[in-house]
């Protein structure tokens, strides 16, 4: 089975006043219809990897790759129009913070319907029905009411769910979730993950799950990529994470305080310069 997404030697760099910032430096992986986790500390290039695949990198950035294909389509040579037609339709991305990712002056419903009607020839009333159904699918109670609310009128958890609904309504084959729960309370976090998990299972999408929480990723995903300074330092199956070889991965795992384990002081990560090479 050919993979859904193939990424070979992806590089993203930003020219800035102080020189070239290399955010992603040669990332290679491929994805089938599975759940792939990308972890790493802040600034390690997780989001930029996701955005580069979506084609959402700011225009002044430079993107190169040996291969970047989605379902056989070469994304590097695809026209902007082609890529636009892919986005939201076959490839979707959930952004990190619902507070800022929803258009504040449009109702939730219109934003969801907009995705659908951009990609499908469909009547207004049918679109609305499907949007409400989608809202229900992401477990929003009273979906018809929420449909007419503005982003500021709903909680963060609901906003994130609306965001998921908005991105999934066109039934994409690949979903990139960029820290979809980090802005949420722990209890809400799990709800949202459960929804996501169910939808992936039902639809057979490929999922890239970006997070900085190693423990969460290991319990949610099938496979995990660990990034450090724009590179992949380790790729490992989720259940094997405990046995990770790379000291960085090990360090990330062990530095989190846990209920019941009495480690004083906590082990800290001792970054080695050679990791970044």
């Amino acid at each position: 089975m050919s993979p859904l997404l193939t990424v070979k030697d992806l590089r993203v760099s930003f020219p800035t006043r102080t020189g070239l910032v290399e955010a992603v430096r040669g990332v290679t992986f491929s994805l089938g219809r599975e759940r792939l986790g990308i972890v790493g500390e802040s600034g390690s290039g997780k989001s930029q990897t996701g955005r580069a695949i979506m084609g959402l990198t700011p225009p002044h950035a430079r993107i190169t790759a040996k291969t970047l294909t989605f379902d056989g389509i070469d994304l590097l040579t695809a026209s902007p129009r082609q890529r636009r037609e892919l986005r939201g339709n076959r490839v979707a991305m959930i952004l990190q913070d619902p507070k800022y990712s929803l258009n504040p002056v449009m109702t939730i419903g219109r934003q969801i319907v907009e995705t659908l009607r951009t990609h499908r020839r469909i009547g207004a009333s049918e679109a609305k029905e499907r949007a409400i159904a989608m809202l229900e699918a992401v477990q929003i109670r009273d979906a018809a009411r929420v449909f007419d609310l503005h982003p500021h009128e709903i909680s963060g958890g609901m906003g994130q769910r609306a965001m998921i609904a908005m991105m999934l309504i066109a039934e994409p084959e690949l979903l990139i979730a960029d820290e979809p729960t980090s802005a949420l309370d722990v209890t809400v976090q799990l709800d949202v993950l459960a929804i996501l998990d169910k939808l992936v299972a039902q639809r057979g999408m490929g999922l890239i799950f970006v997070s900085h929480d190693l423990r969460l990723v290991s319990s949610f995903c099938d496979r995990v990529i660990v990034m450090y300074a724009g590179r992949i330092v380790e790729e490992i199956a989720a259940q094997d994470l405990r046995n990770a070889r790379h000291p960085y991965t090990q360090g990330l795992l062990s530095c989190m305080p846990e209920i019941g384990s009495d480690r004083h002081p906590l082990p800290v990560l001792d970054r080695k310069p050679e990791w970044a090479l």
Binding site: T16, R17, P58, H60
Partner: protein, 309 residues
Amino acid sequence: MTAVPSAPMSRRDWLLSDRPQSRMQARLGRAYMTWRRFSANRLALLGLGILVLLILMAIFAGVLSPHSPVTGNLAGARLLPPGSPGYLLGTDEQGRDILSRLLHGSRLTLFVIILVAVIAAPIGLVVGAVAGYAGGWVDAVLMRITDIFLAFPKLVLALALVAALGPGIENAVLAIAVTSWPPYARIARAETMTVRNADYIAAVRLMGASPLRIVLLHVMPMCLSSLIVRITLDMAGVILTAAGLGFLGLGAQPPLPEWGAMIASGRRFILDQWWVATMPGIAILLVSLAFNLLGDGLRDALDPREAGQ
């Protein structure tokens, strides 16, 4: 401990060091960064250049002027066109050299600008910062006053004040200052309100600092850069208002070579002796353009938020 690098640093590296060794270096480094951001904007540099030129003109007006700015040759050299021998930019209806008048007029322009900035900005800053920080009835009262002045037609108020105080450049300045502080107060207040609840202000309050100290040392500096930008952008307006007052005969008194007044008296000749009104018009345009360019540049340099990525 960090090792002090042994290799001699270039001056630029020293300035840009992210480990400054002294207060001085830190401050200079910061200024240098601002300057670099600013000087990346070529138009802003142009604006600065024009203003530097203006200042030089004002300083050396006496040396540079080929003629007296106030005494002319009514009988012999009236309304000569530009390029007439001895009169590069021509002469006006009193037979005075326009170039000399423009040169000396730069002093008045600078005078107006500086005075307005010195009067209006602090009033606005203090009123706005106090209102924003204190909140409650203090805010309500101060903002009501500000609103009244805002609702007052600006030029009418200036006109009225000048009429009340008598025409003259000092009174024109005063009138402009009195009418131009309310927007500054608004800006300072808005800025203060966002800053007021910031954690770093809460932190200072938790140190036990008095409200006065907080407003003066911690809040006001935060308003300053947006205020400076706004003042710079407003300066063009100030020059234009001063010119407008001069145009209506209420600004500088003759024979002072105030540019607006020069346009006003020159406009009678605009049909035949176009240069009399046009030369000061261009001067005003250039200087206020310079201020606008400078303000734009300063905004990008001082206010990285608006500068984009």
